[in-house]
């Protein structure tokens, strides 16, 4: 990366906070459907999931300042959200409906 990193505090932080939460919910949601036993598995999955979501959220928020700019953060994380949510809703409304 030749151009250097722009700080872009507010746009990067908002991407981390908002899109980080979205990515957390969608990825952990995929685990709920694709993990052992599937979405109807009895047990404590719904309870464990909050911790997994918190972990993903913190990781995305924490590393989002590495993006070259706020615009790049929103673009990459937005695309990741789109893919992850598409996969989640495919599971929820199509494959395991």
């Amino acid at each position: 990366m030749a151009g250097g990193i722009r700080p872009d505090w507010w746009s990067k932080a908002s991407a981390g906070a908002i899109l980080g939460l979205g990515l957390a919910l969608s990825l952990v949601g995929l685990y709920a459907y694709l993990g052992p036993g599937g979405i109807n598995a009895p047990g404590g999955r719904y309870s464990l999931m909050r911790h997994l979501e918190a972990f993903v959220w913190i990781m995305v928020f924490g590393f989002c300042f590495l993006f070259r700019s706020g615009r790049a953060a929103w673009a990459w994380l937005g695309a990741a959200n789109l893919i992850a949510f598409a996969a989640l809703f495919a599971c929820r409304f199509y494959f395991f409906a």
């Binding site: 919910l25 949601g29 052992p36 719904y46 464990l48 909050r50 979501e53 918190a54 913190i58 924490g62």
Partner: protein, 549 residues
């Protein structure tokens, strides 16, 4: 290799989050360290009572029958039979009843205990147990802000705390191989504090990551729950939860009477069927009914985590195992969830880990305190380069806030612990007083710190912490020497431990106070920790400073 500009970027992230969240985190960590000994503190604060031993396990069936006959609500809600004989268990049998309320409305609870009189008749009394330990836990979880805003606030703080941990590691990584564990003790005080901050932070990193993740999950617990239900589960979460509750629930009463198996025999049956389970209490549901059940709360040897929800249930009539949710029978998701919870609360590995967490909690509190201090001192260096000789207004204000909030929390918690003995029986609502006292000291200290400035007030308030903390063992000593004061001095190792730890803590505060007093008098004059004014320009600046305050 991490490029310098990335390090610089993350240094800003680390600093700004640290400075804005550090004070809330200090309170959470200091109070959290105390909650590691929640049970000994509850025992210390509990007045002498009839005690569990007053009724032997052999006589317990008669006591249970009398309670069940006289208090039908207790039969339904569950009668707890205590097995350990701790000071915070007022009698062999206790139960909780709802306060009068309209159906479906939130309501309070009243606590009862019961024992047998020498003539074998029932003696039952309504008495509220000390809520001191719960109050400390409330301060830990929500730093004193009412629910649900306190939870959300700490959710935000915990999320940012996780981010600042990542940022701190990124900042440290390039120099890690070179500087790690190197504590440069010497003239450069700031360098030494920075080294210490780094060593403490990086060695306790796994602990801090676990705390950040779990605290974020709990702070946002309710919103995340709703988000999961609407985005992921689409209604299936409610079903899974109901299924869980069903596994922990005692069977419904049949209405037919049944003969109860005595508790001692039930314990034998438990031991025979679930050999590694160590029960703390047993709770009878629907006592006297054919479908009566005995729920056991406790832990399984060799497994992490208590089964708080009555993991093992026996029929109170036949002693057969009805429901078995002990650790080794849990599904993988719940097992992992329980382990993560235990990693936050330190409930694994016994007393060694409890002590380790106690010190990790303090070290965390110290990290936030030292972080603020470093920021202030760095600002001073920058300012000095630009020809300033005094602290800017923002650093002085942050200095005062740091001193007032941190030391106010410490002093407030100590005094509210002391009040458990002094105010018992003298005020109507002791639980409310615990809160009044804590907030009075906390807010008073903050006011004091802003009125006197960081340097002077740090000395005053650290002495206040030492005084209030040494009052904990002194109160016990007074109670022991002068029984007419109406207080008590328990002799168990756990409660004496509270007194000893408080005494050592008070000595530490006294030492810190002496050191601070020395620095205030003799340290660099342009530090926020100095009461000496930088030479020159003094008069003019002083009047400006006073006007600003």
């Amino acid at each position: 290799m991490i490029r310098a500009e990335i390090v610089k970027l993350y240094k800003t992230v680390h600093t700004w989050i640290g400075v804005s969240c550090g004070l809330a985190l200090f309170i959470a960590f200091y109070a959290g360290a105390l909650t590691m000994f929640q049970e000994p503190i509850a025992r210390w604060a509990s007045p002498p009572a009839v005690g569990v031993e007053a009724v032997s396990l052999e006589d317990a069936p008669r006591l249970l029958e009398l309670v069940a006959a006289a208090y039908p609500e207790a039969r339904e809600e569950g009668i707890t039979l205590h097995l350990r004989g701790h000071e915070n268990e007022p009698a062999r049998v206790t139960w909780v009843e709802d306060e009068p309320h309209e159906a479906g409305q939130p309501h309070g609870h009243v606590h009862w205990w019961a024992t047998l009189k020498p003539d074998g008749s029932l003696m039952a009394k309504q008495e509220e147990p000390s809520d001191l330990a719960e109050f400390i836990n409330d301060v830990h979880m929500r730093i004193g802000i009412p629910n649900p805003w306190g939870s959300y606030f700490m959710g935000v703080v915990s999320l940012l705390y996780g981010v600042t941990l990542i940022a701190g590691v990124i900042v440290l990584l390039p120099s890690l191989a070179k500087d790690f564990l190197e504590l440069r003790i010497g003239k450069n005080l700031k360098r030494m504090w920075l080294d210490a901050h780094n060593v403490v932070g990086i060695t306790a990193l796994p602990f801090h990551l676990v705390i950040a993740v779990t605290a974020t999950a709990w702070g946002f617990g309710v919103p995340l729950w709703s988000a999961q239900e609407s985005v992921i589960f689409g209604g299936k979460q409610k079903i899974a939860m109901a299924h869980d509750l069903e596994r922990w629930r005692a069977p419904p009463p049949t209405g037919e009477a049944g003969a109860m198996m005595p508790p001692s025999q039930l314990l034998q049956r438990l031991n025979a069927q679930v050999p590694d389970f160590e029960p703390k209490v047993m709770v009878f549901r629907n006592f006297g009914d054919k479908a009566a059940a005995a729920k056991f709360a406790g832990a399984e040897r060799g497994y992490v985590g208590d089964t708080r929800f009555g993991g093992v249930i026996l029929s109170a009539v036949t002693g057969t195992l009805i429901k078995d949710n002990r650790a080794s029978r849990q599904d993988l998701d719940r097992r992992v969830g329980t382990v993560i919870l235990a990693l936050h609360t330190g409930e694994y590995g016994g007393i060694t880990i409890i002590w380790a967490y106690f010190f990790l909690g303090f070290s965390g509190a110290w990290l936030f305190y030292s972080g603020n201090l470093l920021w202030i001192e760095t600002r001073r260096k920058k300012a000095r380069k630009e020809g300033e000789v005094e602290q800017s207004r923002s650093t002085r204000l942050l200095g005062s806030a740091t001193v007032g909030i941190c030391l106010g929390c410490v002093a407030g918690l100590s005094l509210t612990i002391v009040a458990a003995k002094w105010l018992h029986g003298r005020v109507a609502d002791l639980d409310a007083w615990h809160a009044y006292i804590y907030y009075a000291v906390f807010l008073g200290s903050i006011t004091w710190a802003f009125a006197w400035g960081a340097a002077r007030s740090a000395v005053h308030l650290t002495w206040l912490c030492a005084a209030f903390t040494v009052a904990i063992p002194l109160t016990t000593l007074l109670a022991w020497a002068f029984p007419m004061l109406g207080m008590w001095a328990h002799g168990s190792a756990a409660t004496v431990g509270v007194d000893i730890v408080a005494f050592i803590g008070a000595l530490c505060f006294a030492w810190v106070a002496t050191a601070t007093a020395w620095r205030v008098k003799n340290g660099p004059a342009d530090s926020v920790w100095s009461i000496r004014k930088a030479e020159g320009r003094t008069a003019a600046r002083q009047s400006v400073a006073i006007a600003a305050e």
